[in-house]
Symmetry: C2
Subunit: 139 residues, 2 copies
DNA sequence: CTAGGAGCTGGAGCCGACTCCAGGTCAACC
DNA sequence: GGTTGACCTGGAGTCGGCTCCAGCTCCTAG
């Protein structure tokens, strides 16, 4: 009594995870769901909070560039339960490496951009000044 | 006298930039070169140090997820020369936003991974300990 | 009872960014 | 002068990751 968990429609899950319904069905086909989706009597998917939680993790992993096959593999291991911790750990550590590489790359890019932004800002200031002093007045 | 700049083949440029020769030709078609590539009498591309420098910048921008059309636009502005600084600045600032968003995302992912790695390491330690004490001996 | 909206399926389509192919040219060395 | 090996071209193919389509079934509200 009162312990009846509601169950979520695909549309609600889409809204909560930020994925489209298309993508949710696609992920399901791809095996990116910790447990099989149940269906209501009409054949519609019924999701639960755990699914949303898991998908949220997947969104984060995908957002950091983990390829779908890796996400699938990780999902399989989680589904398989105990005894797979070592491989899960390895998978995550490998991805951590990729993430850190990306951060380095982004940092390098940020440095470049900041440098160039400085250059352009100076150039524009210069223009503003010279036109104000008449050095280059009216062109 | 000694000021004769050698000129680089597409293969050499590929090696220096880390791009493939395919990609170099592709980028050229896409208008991602600050100045038009010259050709030797045999019709082969002759690159110079500036080209390598520019391509290096492009590699960094692409590596941080700037879409090719944006790189092309930036290239066009550089080619057009003076008077385009404001737009170049805008382009770079927009991209800086994207880069910073990505870093946030990666950081979130890193936090998640670090948390989970911790969990799995503990789980594995636990296994090691219990098997050593015989709590779960032989399995 | 009917109109609308959300869901269902299998399969096709799309997009960005390469990547490769076939068939040919050219320069250099043996 | 023949054989490599790097280069050339236009166009086709690939890959990852969605995204959409057609044609159907439900459920609910009016």
């Amino acid at each position: 009594m009162s312990g009846v968990v509601p169950g979520l429609s695909i549309g609600e899950v889409a809204e909560r995870t930020g994925l489209s319904v298309h993508t949710l069905r696609f992920y399901e086909r791809e095996g990116i769901l910790a447990n099989p989706v149940r269906r209501d009597p009409g054949g519609r998917r019924v999701y639960h909070e755990d699914d949303v939680d898991w998908l949220t993790v997947c969104v984060i992993l995908r957002g950091s560039g983990m390829p779908l096959p890796a996400v699938r593999r990780y999902t399989e291991l989680v589904r398989a339960g105990g005894g797979t911790e070592a491989e899960r750990l390895a998978l995550l550590q490998e991805h951590r490496g990729r993430v850190m590489d990306q951060m380095d790359q982004l940092q390098k890019c940020l440095d470049l951009i900041n440098f160039k932004v400085g250059v352009y800002e100076d150039a524009l200031d210069q223009l503003a000044v010279s036109s104000a002093t008449g050095t280059d007045a009216g062109r």
